[in-house]
Amino acid sequence: MDNYIEIRDVVKQYDGHLALDHVSMDVPRGCIYGLLGPNGAGKTSLIRIINRITHQDSGTVKLDGRAITDDDVVHIGYLPEERGLYKKMKVGDQIVYLARLKGMDKATATAEMQQWLERFDLGEWRDKKLEALSKGMQQKVQFIATVIHRPQLLIFDEPFSGFDPVNADQLKAEILRLKQEGSTVLFSTHNMESVEAICERITLINHSRVVLDGNVDDIRQQHKQGILAVDLSPGQQLQPCDALYTILPTSGSGRETQVRLQAGVSMHDAIAWLNDHCALTGFHEILPSMHDIFVNTVKDQDHEQA
């Protein structure tokens, strides 16, 4: 596969604390990639290294097949978790300034700024100082400043925090549109719903190390625990069959019952049996949520270390 970012064995140490311990990661071109991990795991350290804000002690970072250099920052758009802009600067001037720092010329930056502001219904705020805007509007301005120079790589650190649901949807749509246009997107988040919704691949970092990575669907398949949701005709009871499955305590209402298959029992066999013995109207396999995988993996690892 064609990788846009290739990270190999990156080590970073701060004052005797190991922030990144031989971290490797491949981000395919045009992919929406999730970088997950609990607070303090080393996500921000890795992002800052890709952004050339800090430098790794050892290991390599390649961008587009070449070792990354300071000049590559023009190909990167970065939205940090802690948002920040100049409060006393006018919205339009601010966007143009940041765009020019990323190497755009003044005329192009001004034209693009105008288009983006209109797309986000902020046109009339162009000559207002940033502090006059609501928090949501300020977030949008920051998003524009991140993407205006059409970077090939977008790095978003917790992009949805601070957005209301309507704006979060708009933001999600914009991110998907940028992907369509060919950008590679690296997400850092603990919001697992958004990971399931838009990330294709992930890397999970815990205690400065990569503990899990790969395609989101594959990971969920690998972590499935043989749980089946079964729909029966109204009034029917599920018959127990200890050789095949155990019935899980029903969560909530509805006719759906969940069962866990016994080890070695194939789903095919279980469904065949159920079809013969119960009035089965429907079934589907329950894949673990990314949330559960995240929590379990991190817990298991912490347990091992303890």
């Binding site: 804000i53 800090t54 970065y78 920040g84 409060k87 300034y97 940041l98 720092l101 990323k102």
Partner: protein, 441 residues
């Protein structure tokens, strides 16, 4: 446009556009003028506003009390010594009508001492006036007591007041009249300007750094440029703001003095035109105020402005760089302006010490303290500006400037090491030890 230029331009525009810049540009000269005029005005008000108070003078000698003449503030009421037995009782009986009671003892000729009594604090001007008047009167009385005819006249005629006129040889041997007072004044004003600018604009840089850090924009900016570029952009941008302010003041001052000069010239022309007698005009020019005037003008012109101006620019830039780098480094190490005082207090103390050292150097401009303080880079920008009118050897000037710029460059390097780590660190109280640790990283 390079990133550094972009950052400089943003810093410059964001400051010059602010109301505070316009207000400070207008306010500072007014404040400086006020500092000069205020003492004069207060002195004037002091004399104008108050009533003349009466001071009773109980003269036990019977000779000197009546010789006292009233001042602007006090009327002296001489009384014979034998009429008042108890000065305190007399003062109390006057019931607040008297400001004080002065007792001239009968043996003042030998003990040379008199006493002022009052239930209020005795005014310094009253003490001075009494002391001066009686010293003079008693001296004259002593002179007369020798019985030598015309002795007082002889003493008066033989007393001489020497006027010191200083002439400076230029390299080709021509004479220019100088005035140390004027040169000193110019040197001191320039030293004070450096002091003010370093503290004012240094604090601006620090606040700017803290603002970017607390705004969290710094992470966005350093993902586009190097921390060093951001720091230098701020330092240079703010310096340009300072130079703009200086330029505005210079232009305004030149314009004002041109206007003042032409009106003054016209006024003088009028006086000359009115006096039709050429001889009287010449006499007036020779000994009148105009002679003094031309002397002052010549003295003002005698100061080596080019040297002072060039030195000022060098020390201004060097001193500013040195301290601005420190302020930027300290700003990056804290989360809010309140926490910065542990770092800024030493800077302010050093600045105040150099201002006092500068003042002291006026007394002995070539002494060891003046020499050392004008070499040490932290004090040299101020002290050397004060020393400069007293003909500092060129090697000293050159060495001092080289030391200053060398240290400033070192300080910028140190500051950039601290800055690049400090700006990304939050929520930790930074100590001097941490800063030294960052240098090694």
């Amino acid at each position: 446009m390079s990133k550094l230029k972009l950052i400089i331009a943003r810093e410059y525009m964001s400051m010059v556009g602010r109301k505070s810049f316009i207000i400070m540009t207008i306010l500072i000269p007014i404040l400086m003028i006020a500092c000069v005029l205020l003492p004069i005005g207060i002195g004037y008000l002091n004399r104008e506003g108050s009533d003349v108070e009466t001071v009773a003078v109980i003269d036990q000698t019977g000779r000197y009390g009546s010789a006292l003449t009233d001042t602007d503030l006090y009327h002296f009421m001489p009384l014979r010594g034998d009429t008042v037995a108890d000065p305190h009782k007399f003062y109390a009986q006057a019931d607040g009508q008297l400001a004080a009671v002065v007792v001239i003892p009968h043996d003042i000729d030998s003990v040379h001492q008199l006493t002022i009594y009052s239930d209020k604090t005795i005014n310094a001007s009253l003490k001075m006036s009494l002391g001066r008047q009686l010293s003079d009167t008693i001296t004259r009385a002593h002179v007369a007591s020798y019985g030598v005819p015309n002795l007082q006249q002889m003493i008066d005629e033989s007393s001489v007041n020497v006027d010191v006129k200083s002439v400076k040889w230029t390299d080709d041997g021509t004479e220019t009249e100088t005035s140390t007072e004027i040169a000193m004044g110019i040197g001191f004003v320039l030293a004070f300007l450096i002091y003010m600018f370093v503290l004012m604009y240094g604090a601006m840089i620090m606040n700017g750094v803290i603002e970017e850090k607390t705004n969290r924009i710094v992470e966005v900016i350093v993902s586009s440029c190097k921390p060093f570029e951001l720091m230098m952009g701020k330092i240079i941008g703010v310096a340009l703001v300072g130079l703009t302010q200086l330029a505005i003041w210079t232009v305004v001052m030149l314009a004002l003095s041109a206007v003042a000069g032409s009106t003054l010239g016209l006024a003088m022309g009028d006086t000359f035109a009115m006096s039709n007698d050429p001889a009287a005009l010449q006499a007036a020019l020779a000994e009148g105020g105009n002679a003094d005037m031309s002397g002052i003008v010549q003295a003002i012109l005698g100061v080596n402005y080019l040297q002072i101006f060039l030195a000022f620019i060098f020390y201004f830039i060097g001193g500013y760089l040195l301290y601005a780098a420190l302020f930027a480094a300290f700003g990056s190490a804290v989360d809010q302006a309140n926490d910065a005082s542990q770092f800024t207090t030493p800077i302010i103390i050093i600045m105040i010490i150099s201002l006092y050292a500068g003042m002291a150097c006026v007394e002995n401009p070539n002494g060891p303290m003046a020499l050392w303080c004008s070499m040490i880079p932290f004090t040299s920008p101020i002290v050397m500006m004060v020393r400069l009118p007293f003909d500092v050897p060129l090697w000293q000037l050159a060495l001092s400037i080289i030391l200053l710029f060398g240290t400033a460059a070192l300080m910028v390097w140190i500051a950039s090491r601290i800055y690049r780590i400090g700006i990304l660190l939050y929520g930790k109280k930074t100590s001097y030890r941490d800063l030294i640790g960052w240098l090694r990283r």
